[in-house]
Amino acid sequence: MSELTINPGVEIRNAELELRHFHARLAVASAFVLLVFALLGARFFYLQIVRHGELSTLAEANRIAILPVAPNRGIIVDRNGIVLAHNYSAYTLEIRPQDVANIDRLVDEVSTVVEIGPRDRRRFKRLLEESKAVGSLPIRTRLTDEEIARFAAHRYRFPQVEINARPFRQYPQGEIFSHVVGHIGRINQRELDRLEADGRLANYRGTDYIGKTGIEQRYEGYLHGITGVENVEVDSGGRAVRTLSRTPAVSGSNVALTLDSRLQDVAYRAFGERRGALVAIEPSTGGVLALVSKPGFDPNLFVDGIDPQSWNELNHSPDRPLLNRALAGTYPPGSTFKPYMALAALSLGKRTPQQTINDPGYFFFGGRQFRDSHEGGHGVVDLYKSIVKSSDTYYYMLANDLGIDAIARFVSRFGFGSRTGIDLSGEALGVLPSPEWKMRRFKQKWYPGETISIGIGQGYNSYTPLQLAVAIAAIANDGVVPRPHVVDYIEDSRTRERLPVAPAPARTLGLKAEHLAAVKAALVGVTREGTGRIAFQGAEYMSAGKTGTAQVIGIKQGEKYVEREVAERFRDHSLYVAYAPADRPTIALAVIVENAGFGSRAAAPIARIVLDFYLLGKLPAPPKPAKVRANASRR
């Protein structure tokens, strides 16, 4: 020690003192280590010697295996009790991969007995890669009776292969409900870890499936049920011989939606081959009546593991069928934004209903010309006419007078640019433009010129169809913004007790009755003498609506938009928002048809079909070439 220390005497003594202290501490630590090991030894002695007899009897009788009993998943029905998701039982051929050295060879051998197609193989491969570590995986599902018999005769050859009766999920309505109802799929490692973190893993012993999207995912906690426990006696080979006791599983709760499946069906078909989305809401409750996203996909493909080929097709299709456009797609609202602008103008005292402007067909600001889509303009325009004829100039001026801050603050209360809080996952925020937003997003300041096109729902404006539907429902509802929800109630499988899902309205806007009346009158005017006139010709009810056309690409100054010259995917989106009956609305909706041009041409006729069916029970006439096409005015 001393040769290491070059310091003078005092510190040497200190160092030695410290070393002595350290050794004392080490001694204490050693004593502690010995004590703990002695305790462990004592525990081992207690278990292995004292309780040996008792515990080895238990081990002998371990034979008693505790098996989970998977619960039946709750079913999903629409508001009229029509089944949207249910279970049926079928036989599957399953392999326990952890016991098999060469899976491919085993599959080859099994395929000599029961047919295993290339699709089955690909799907099995995929399952193998992403499934939880233990348990058996299906190589073939839905065996026929003959296949079962054939395999039973050869069973002795394949100890690692078994036939099991399994519940399968089925979605009888297929692609029409693909986005709302969603689908289940096999539990993957991520979900497994998630379950473990939540302490729900024990309840999933014996369950192979979990809700992946839509209602199936959001209401997983209700649909799944409680796993039961079965004590079975097993022989020395681990096979169950008889059941000793059981705590039965509790089936998952059934989920009833506010959706009307026939309305959903009508709405989905109304789109034809077009892409787009439709959201229909009951304004007073926020219950969603229809939620369509076109194109859809067949959710049944996902149930027992989708094969990679189908997956790639869905995932890479330019039509993006997996995207739920209704709540994850965002679109500029176009002229459907004007009613909110009008309400802002009235509420903030910038306009009166009678005040008029002159619309020459353009608006000059900052040396730039903002054109009205109606060539030559609409002449003298008051608030009513500004909505009915959809004057752009009126709203260019208004946006300039209000200023971006006031616009953003006012319309945000309708839910634009924030999540509506619907009980489905994956809702997009959209973009409610404001100087703060632009600074956050682009690190740039706001230019006054950018405010102008905000007034007609263009510019950075971008909202989900769901937000548009909630906003128009808020007008229908006289300023009470509903909170949309897809589920009506959850029914306990045992007690049949119904737990209603009725969220309170998001907020009340406190709009003045006369302001609302002015805008509502104009919205009715749209369907009688305005841009929605042709689509709603001869309707047996009074409806209120607003057309919209949203630019997909910017058009340069002095350039004209000629539809023929624009590639299909860059054509304008067609929008329509509506509610009906106008005096006492029972339905409010937003429709967007991608790249379909004027709002009056594609979106409004779909709204008409949906309203006709919902209010009158009238089915759409068999498809005929759309006559509405001629004469359609823009916006």
Partner: protein
Amino acid sequence: MHPAVRRIPRLVTRHVDGLLLGLVLVLMVVGLFVLYSASNASAARVTAQSVNLLVALAVLWVFANIPPHYLLRLAAPLYVAGVLTLLGVALFGDVVHGARRWLDFGVTRIQPSELMKIAVPLALAWYLHRHEATLRLTNFVVATVMLIVPVALIARQPDLGTALLIAASGFFVLFLAGLSWRIMAGAVLAGLAAAPLVWSLLHDYQRQRVLTLIDPAQDPLGAGYHTIQSTIALGSGGWTGKGWLAGTQTHLDFIPERTTDFIFAVYAEEFGFAGNLVLLALLLLVIARGLFIAANAPTLFGRLLAGAITLTFFTYAVVNLGMVSGILPVVGIPLPLISYGGTALVSICLGFGILMSISTHKRLIQT
């Protein structure tokens, strides 16, 4: 033979502590045998684990050859980097399985809490070593803060198990440096007083684990199942066990995670009480050797670090054995050197490498 060539074996073994290495190797081999049985004679598992063992031994050798004063220099930057990444995780981390533990660097994701297992004792030993001549209460306060910051960040992730282990390793440094008994007693009392508060802060699943420990039957499909089955496995082993490859609990699939966290249940069932005593003795010898190295280390840094590494190893072993034999809660901590898995093995062997470095670099160090 060229003299340089003749020196190669000496160069390879110069910084290896033969006794410690021998004990580690014996435990590793025992582990492979148990793994073979636990995995139902899976050669693939044993091969994979052998690869893990080789990697771990390489890490051990590399660290044995790094002189302690390099580690001394590395301590502070490593600690700071660790705390910063923990902060990064808290602010921008990926939420995986509901816990925020990973930091995505684009190329790779790292789990900083793993790094802190070695960085914390290293930093504390470095700090106390720097103030060696004038250690007083303020130094201990600073060191405690240095410990609490990363522990709190990790506990928030939430990763209570790792947080507690790191807290323990840091505490060992403080304890060996001579933290006053009175303060420790005060801390224990304060801890007891704060217990109700801590209980209210725990996540539901963490409470469940504690409750399940008290009454395993409460949760027969979840954590309680593990305890019930591993207790039966242990108890049915008796004096000498059922023999290698003959454990019924094991081979009838009753023991969950039997190659990883619960591998000791397999061992105890097949080798009985006698086997357990042998295992305890082997572990005790490893710990004794570690403490011996600590006692003879030439610098305070070496002493504290060696002591803390050894006692941390002890803690891992005890927590695992206690968990499998049903006297500690089920936390996911493997049995060091025995359980299947690479990460824990490498960090344990890294610690042993440092131990060997401390024991074999004596002459080269100036205080």
